[in-house]
Amino acid sequence: MMWTILQRELWIRLRDVRFWIGVLSLPLLIGAILGVTVLLKQDKRALSVYLIGAEELEPLLASTPRFKCIPIDSTIATQRKATLQEGEALLELSERSSTRVAFTLYSREVLSEAEQEQLKQLLRQAIQQVRVRELGLPPDQWAYLNPQLAFQNYLLKPDTETPQAAGVLYLLSIAVSVLLYIVLSAAGFQILLSVLEEKSNRLAEYLAISVPVAQILTAKLLAGLLLALLRGGVLGLFIVGVGWWVQRQVPDLHLSVETLSVPWGWLLTYLLGGILLYAFLYAAAGASSDSVTELSGLAQIMQWVPTLLFMLIVFLWQNGPSQGQLILRLLSYFPLTAPIVMPGRLLTETVPLWENLLSLSLIALSTAGARVLGARLYERALFLYGQKLSWRSIWTFLRRR
């Protein structure tokens, strides 16, 4: 019977176009905004390439909008290498024979394969022209010389994280918090609406005749959980996709799943704990209300408190970790906000094990409490029609075993 209810709960949402609009609209919107932003920033500055040991190539090197070759004295090469900035590169001729020429490029940004090829082509043409001169061949013969060109690109890693990378990390934290907030609230609100629909239509009575109320609630929670995971999966895939795309567009961010060391196990645990906690609370909120326009005090609290806390979280994240770190840390223990804040912290900092355990223990305790109280309220308030429950009634229901 529980499976039948679960099936209906899933099927009725999955076939509803509004559900998919809800799931896909946010990624599409964010994707569109991000896409336009990144595309507008496609015009890269010219890279100043300092030539060491190949000064004779300089006049022969054609300038392109991307590369501007500047010969420098080899005596200042080491100093220049140490002070190399963004938008600068050092090209060192490390080997030169009649058949082989080797270059090493030092830069703070990664050149894409196409860019490397473009630079190689410029170098090859210049070398060929120098060789033609050296051999005294007619100028039109240079194309027949094809020296082997070795090219190595050394990335000079920044001593500290680049501001862009740090910015992306905080953006990622906010994105994860937003994602979790959306997933938890959507799962909870879906359960609230489902409970309320059956309560206001008296369908709860039909169901409760044939199936124990606890099983109805469990089936709803499972459906909510699965739909939340689906929603989270879609949003998660979107974030991973955006991350991958940004990485390709802006390779010098040095971000990858490995470097972020995403703690998937912890994230999933917080997600599941959060969904269950919210689901029980929203189920109780739905049962204690009379209709969407007659929400009980509990339902209103479940609407406003997480929203306000979420706004606070985003504000604190935006200000960086130093400002409001204590508040963020406290919010990462508080059960209603811990599933939203702690995953963000886990992505940006090393969270001590005890903090994780404390946070999860509090979520587990709250979920257990919410399960008992939520189920009690659901069972007792489900058949009380025509009134939203007062705090006094809710308290009376919760107190009685």
């Binding site: 039948t4 209906r8 009725i12 206001s200 369908l203 039909y206 005749i209 044939s210 009634s393």
Partner: protein, 301 residues
């Protein structure tokens, strides 16, 4: 036989504790239509919910054929709650299938039952979403839900509210047919005039108690007054009626006569002249509505 033994139920309302039922006991005979009567807020719906097992009584118990109500037994009860509804975005057929599956019917049994009741209740529009159906159509779907699976007990809370007379008459005849085939039907209703011709047994509930219950005919006899209807072939105003009789002339040949307590009805016949031919002479029994109002109205007033 459904036995209700000393059932009490109280709720916590905004103004404190509200006693919905107080030590209610009743015996509901099988294969009959039992009318559950009472003013609004008297406890009818609470009693029906306890009968179907949706609410546990605070004290007392309900027995079906001597057995306490189990989940298995609950699934054999057809139930139609008050102010019911359907899932607005589901097709009527889908929700019938869904809810019947929950009652324990297999998919094929449920489909067969739906096909049968779709024909029986004339519902060719079952593939439409519930939100596009009229109230009467939705009531039919809910009735089909209560009836499918051939329940041995039907509990119907205000099944006729909001129905047009044609559908109401259809449902009335259907209920009579089911009762004849052995189904016990308990229906709560405000249409008291309906009870006389539809129900065989009544349970009057008032302020959480049952002041009156029993077979309809027995109650009518019990509350009968010495009030007689008379139709003769002689002008009725020219008859010398006993001085103690209160005569109400209905037309030239008809009257309604109330005799004082203890006076035999034969006194009326003795007053008739020999040439008066008696066309009708009967005691006017009270309707269930009369009895109900008599029982309840003094308090209401």
């Amino acid at each position: 036989m459904i036995q209700v033994e000393g059932v009490s139920k109280a709720f916590i309302g905004p103004t404190g504790k509200v006693v919905a039922l107080e030590n209610v006991s009743a015996q509901l005979p099988p294969g009959q239509i039992i009318g559950l009567l009472g003013p609004n807020g008297s406890g009818k719906t609470t009693l029906l919910r306890i009968l179907v097992g949706l609410l546990p009584p605070d004290t007392g118990r309900v027995l079906y054929g001597g057995q306490p109500l189990s989940l298995q037994l609950r699934r054999t009860i057809g139930y139609m709650p008050e102010e019911r509804g359907l899932y607005p975005n589901m097709r009527a057929q889908e929700q019938l299938l869904y809810l019947l599956r929950l009652k324990g019917l297999s998919a094929s049994e449920a489909k067969q039952a739906i096909a049968y009741w779709a024909q029986r209740l004339d519902m060719p529009w079952l593939d439409r979403r519930a939100k596009t159906l009229s109230k009467g159509m939705q009531q039919k779907v809910q009735l089909a839900l209560a009836l499918a699976g051939r329940p041995s007990v039907l509990l119907l809370d205000e099944p006729f509210s909001g129905l047009d007379p044609i559908i109401a008459a259809e449902i009335e005849s259907l209920l009579k047919e089911l009762a004849q085939s052995g189904t016990t039907i308990v229906l709560s209703t405000h249409r008291l005039e309906q009870v006389d011709h539809l129900c065989q047994h009544v349970l009057m509930i008032y302020r959480g108690r049952i002041p009156l219950q029993g077979p309809v005919e027995a109650l009518r006899q019990r509350f009968a007054e010495p009030l007689y209807e008379l139709e003769v072939s002689y002008p009725i105003r020219e008859i010398s009626w006993p001085a103690e009789a209160a005569v109400q002339f209905l037309d030239t040949y008809k009257a309604q006569v109330r005799l004082p307590e203890g006076m035999p009805s034969r006194a009326l016949l003795n007053a008739l002249p020999p040439e008066a031919e008696i066309r009708l002479f009967r005691q006017r029994l009270p309707t269930i509505k009369d009895i109900f109002l008599k029982q309840v109205s003094p308090d209401i007033v």
